[in-house]
Amino acid sequence: MTDRSQAEHHAATAKIQARRGFSIVWIVPIVALVIGGWLAFKAISEKGPTIAITFSSAEGLEAGKTKIKFKDVEIGQVETIALSDDASHVRVSAKMIKGSEPYLTDQTKFWVVRPRINGGSVSGLGTMFSGAYIGIDGSKKGNPALAFTGLETPPVVTVGQPGRHFTLHAETLGSLDVGAPVYYRQIQVGQVVSYGFDQDGKAVDVKIFIEAPHHTRITENTRFWNASGFDVSLNAQGLKVDTQSMISIVSGGIAFDVAKEGLPGEVAKENATFFLYADRNATQEKKYTVRNYWMLLFDESVRGLSIGAPVELYGIKLGEVVDLSLEFDLDKKKFQVPVVIAVAPERVSAAKREAALKMVESDPEAFMKVLVEQQGLRAQLQSANLLTGQLMVNMVFVPNAPKATLSRHGDYRVIPTTSGSFEKLQESLSRIITNMEKVPFDQIGAELQQTLKETRNTVNGFGGLAGKLDQETVPQVQATLVELQKTLVELQQSVGKDSPLNYNARKTLEELNQTLRSFRELADTLELRPQSVIFGKETKKNE
């Protein structure tokens, strides 16, 4: 009680003041709400599409870390990495930024960017520091898509790059690879984009890309040839080594030029098809597309005639032998040799070539019939080479030949044959013998003796020349060849598999790799334990 009265006694009297009204503290949550709302709005409005990409392996990819970059600008991030249902590939799900939608079409390509050393180029070195990322080649053409199949190798040509694609038809691929250079006068103007079998798998289609502005150099008359490796040719002008560049020796290459004869023609269109020749010389030979097949029936020896032997008219090649066999004719009871020849009418030039060709092509039989019946066209065997005994087929016009026409044998029309030059030889021989009697032999003999003497002098002179050739020129050629061989061996040694250059390059790369790895470890340590900058590396207790 005393306590209370004391308190009452000592308590002071307060100064009275009016109370305040609304508390301004509510501004704080309102401000918070405004900021939160703005953040939420931003997050929702900036949300981009989520896409799915399939890869054969997730090497170097990390969920939540790996970025997707378009021309080195970050436009997305990998969210999850999972195996597909049958575990045959990897499904990567990635979140893209807003505004990336126009570039996500079925033409868009994705690939993993890793360090690569390929033929003449090194790419993706930057990823040694930062880890792999997914590259994208966005294309606005095509239908919008959200699911993609990733490429295993980066595309050689990006979609936006100006230029033109062409298809080259080749018999074999050779040493060409994707990315192999295409040269025009030894300057690189394009690359091999892809290759594959053609529709029936009998040849190879090589797709190339020629960069602008060089794509206009490809015209109708352009000839492409495989410029892989180097060509060595020895002719009257000496030894010649032809190559495009060191890179093309290693990884193959293609070169092109306008065909020697004729004008360049019109500029070729996108995806035009050309033939890929085996080498430069092959481009000079004309390519014939039309071939007519005929049969010749011989009842004499065809020894020396082989498949590929030429068929000539007036000494100009018209075609070649494509098949020969021996058969027995039951009706006539005798053996005969059917020879199938292929004739390329395009080899013949004419004043009105197009019209003439059209006529031959539309009905070759009628054309040939006229030749055989009215002008006496016949086939005969003729010696092509006296030394080797090779035979060839010669087409001749025999003015007083017995009447004959085109007959049919199996699938082929048969051109009548005439006996070879041996029978003619006999006729001529008898004529010569009758004429021989008129020859003044004693006079000839005396002159012959004189001639022989002179000949001997000439031959002696020749002998000296031959000796000179033997002593001077041949050793030089031989020395040149030996030198060439040496050079090639040295080249092989210096760039070959076990060469010091190769070894050193490999060693350097390994060391670079180690350095980068330790660099990376340092960075990881710093990221994990930044305190180690101050306190040093901590040692684990249980070690």
Partner: protein, 208 residues
Amino acid sequence: MKQDAATARQLGLVNCHDCRLLVETPQHAPGRCPRCGAHLHLRKPNSLARTWALVCAAVIFIIPANLLPMTITTTLGAKQADTILSGVIYFMQSGSWEIAMVIFIASVFVPFAKLSILIVLLLSVQFRSAWRPKDRTTLYRLTELVGRWSMVDIYVVTILVALVKLGAVAAIEAGPAAVYFAAVVVVTMFAAESFDPRLIWDVIEEDV
């Protein structure tokens, strides 16, 4: 506390918050302290409303604080943004679970616990609950005690940003979440400050 002991309010007295002078004053409108001139309050003014407002603000701020990246680490050109939780998970996966625990407790558990406690206290006072007043006062003391420690994350980020500046090799930057996280901590501290624990006991006193 003994039930028969009188409180200042029952005696019509007000304790000056600044100089602790006992003042006799009409309780509906206490004025100023005659000694030091401070405003006199029987209870902290508008305690409930203020605390509610600050708690609401903290609840809003805690969302971006946890969803946005707290640190942006650049290691050899690779940028890596980490939220609080992804940092915790990263440390746990890389084996440093002690650091993970510290960050989790300081940056996730404490702020959420503090906010929850404050909301429970506010609700219980609002609905005039007489449930375990002593325990609730202990909870309040806990929030005040622990409040300052939830700034640990901000300190860690500040130190890291200052320390790890190795140019291209490694650099750490503070992310946008740091601002919101700091706001949460500050606002909850003010909220805990503006809450008057005597309100817990007023209900019991009036019921008696």
